[in-house]
Symmetry: C2
Subunit: 144 residues, 2 copies
DNA sequence: GCAAGTCTATTAGAGCTCTAATATTCGTCA
DNA sequence: TGACGAATATTAGAGCTCTAATAGACTTGC
């Protein structure tokens, strides 16, 4: 089965193009794509624990740990112990983090709006629906 | 703009599901997803130089270099100097590499066939077309 | 012939990603 | 009250990925 006939190739190619463009537009803010994804979730959910953040970003906890380490080193986030649950760290944006996030978000949203504008409402809904069926099937057949 | 409204989120999610399932079905053969991608291209193009292989797999030359190093250590490929172009290494599957590739390919193709079977011919063509428009737009707006 | 440009290969370094394993804390249930 | 289970956090280690830089070999144009 040649690679060009595989649906997976086309999905991978689109994701690759998306990632490369995101990477390029986030570069001025000094953020990587995973860092931006984490900051976006943090902006919407202040104080969220790292484990929940990892789930929201669809990565594992150790992965999020390394991303947060780099964000913390740059002073973009703070991690403070939860008042009750002593084993939980509350993660929040710093003021600097909020500024950097706003700058990065402007460029990222511009790409998303431009991408969405390539399609009619019906096409967009179709694409989302077809992709959801891909995800659903792939998860349903995953061993383990 | 909430993450759930971004087309990019759905593309990323589908690619993530694809990658996770591929990873799971390739595990018995002891191959990673990038290693399988490289072996697939090698099976179709014996003797291809690493730089061309990198382009075919949509990664950079240094990335392909690390993947090939691991494949070579396992004895799945050989890299021999090109008879004329002294700066080029011809990369080929070993006999063991061919066997491992065949075993892995069986599982990978099963996933691809199952995924394709979720859609009608028209839906499949639509999905490919919509994804291609995404890739095309994203590449056209990429700075640099 | 020689120089510039192009292509191949490689190394160095930063960052992301996973699995596996460990430690700590909280909640539940007997 | 004490033990088990679930959730959080972290470390270790392997592997992938990129950009930047270096080096060698071929090709083209003067």
């Amino acid at each position: 089965m040649p690679a060009s006939e595989r649906l997976g190739s086309h999905i991978k190619e689109a994701e690759h193009a998306l990632n490369a463009t995101k990477h390029a537009v986030l570069k001025p803010a000094g953020l990587t794509v995973p860092q931006y994804a984490a900051l976006l979730q943090l902006a919407e959910n202040p104080g969220i624990p790292a484990a929940a953040l990892a789930r929201a970003c669809r990565v594992t906890a150790p992965t999020m740990n390394t991303v947060l380490k780099n964000l913390q080193q740059r002073g973009l986030i703070t991690r403070t112990p939860h008042p009750w649950h002593r084993n939980v760290l509350e993660t929040r944006l710093t003021e600097l983090g909020t500024q950097v996030m706003a700058e990065a978000d402007e460029n990222a949203v511009r790409v998303e709006r431009g991408l969405a504008a390539q399609f009619t409402d019906e096409e967009r809904a179709q694409l989302i629906s077809l992709l959801a069926r891909c995800s659903g099937y792939l998860e349903s057949v995953r061993p383990g």
